[in-house]
Symmetry: C2
Subunit: 249 residues, 2 copies
Amino acid sequence: MAQAIHLHQVSPLKASCQQCSLSNLCLPLAVEENDLERLEDIVQQGKIYNRGEHIFDQSTPMRSCFAVKSGSVKTSIITEGGDEQVTGFFMPGELVGLDSMSSDTYACTAKALERTSVCEFPIEKLEELTGKLPELQHHMYHLLSQEIQNSHQLAMLLSKNTAEERIAALLLSLSSRFRRRRMSPTNFSLPMARNDIANFLGLAVETVSRVFTRFQNQGIIRARGREVELLDVEALQLVTRDFARQGCQ
Amino acid sequence: MAQAIHLHQVSPLKASCQQCSLSNLCLPLAVEENDLERLEDIVQQGKIYNRGEHIFDQSTPMRSCFAVKSGSVKTSIITEGGDEQVTGFFMPGELVGLDSMSSDTYACTAKALERTSVCEFPIEKLEELTGKLPELQHHMYHLLSQEIQNSHQLAMLLSKNTAEERIAALLLSLSSRFRRRRMSPTNFSLPMARNDIANFLGLAVETVSRVFTRFQNQGIIRARGREVELLDVEALQLVTRDFARQGCQ
DNA sequence: CATCCGGGTTGATCCAAATCAAGCATAGCA
DNA sequence: TGCTATGCTTGATTTGGATCAACCCGGATG
């Protein structure tokens, strides 16, 4: 292990949540400054995964959840039939594996969409720590419930909205997540393939492609491969809202 | 300690999880016998709601989550446009409100589908207690993650499955939940209207109706209004294909 | 008792998106 | 340099379920 080489040095494996630029998005935000090292004690920081590598696999023993440090992660369920259902995309500062929290085995597979580094939180130690730090416990509950809400939101998108609305919603979601990280909310590169977008949104790849070009022709976005520029955010928001309004007619 | 007043009486408000027939499905299952009264201390038991009454409302301050004691509950999100999206049905022994856990306001509205009694767990006290009882905390995490998984399953159903598969899956889910309660898994009455089923599964009412009669003509079920009899469970499982999961515990 | 009304069923028509089918661009590789 | 694989786009055709429309039934109401 290349990492072992570094061990006798200035302990690069010892996490330093304080210095992490994501500390205001990630778990540290819920921890008092003087308790922070207790969190740092249980974290294993800096694991790197290459594009396509699995961080954990569905049905294997659940040991940890993971915070994305850089890169991005896709989670998906594989059915017995071999069908894949993408259940989420995770960006820096976000926690992966919450859907398997306190389960015996992972409920989904997590795969790096690009070169990705993560911080690992062993579940036993995390549970133990949340028992001692009410703020952290509160935050964990909040994250978990948030995840449920997200999923309900997705279900709503899938059951009630058109292809255009779904894609507009995804673009806006990504946009706001980039903004949170102080990156451009209008000019970013999609971490995932069209295929993954289609799967996630319950569409055929062809439909995703068509909607992208339609948006482009309308001057709402500009897209070249995975590079995307949102030219008219208002229009995108309008697309997602129009449908909600139709209920009134 | 106000509850102590009632203790020498017949204690109508004092919860008695021990005697509750659902204790092996509900929160008490995670609590040691000698800690049980700490759980009982924070519960407000026996609230009754009539058909159609709201247990809590979306966007109002989140105070408690609720265990269904008898009857059944429907949760739904209302969009700005007035659209309703049913997010779940809850039966005795199940916890409602987890999607709003540790949020400021409720993320959905919970409505009694019939005359329903619930036990109320004030969220602050519950959080405090889970900090002291690791088993209970573990169970809460488990319930929350389970809820995420259920929602992912629903998303998959909505994005990949046909009308017949969705309805078969719902019937099987209800069936297994009745079985857990030691009730007939093949002969029960639906707590919800066709309308709610349609909304929940992302279908039109007409489609739901058609599928029911189709199943009936195929001899898979017998349905008269809300009364349902599953005549051929194997056939139903076959319809759902790789969607055989969804069992709990 | 007639009426009304919400919930449920059934039939006819239409449409958004899936599917089928090519073709194109880029990257990795021998 | 060409070959293959992979991802993306575009066009033609098909289809599952939505929508529109009518009707039925049973229980509540005046």
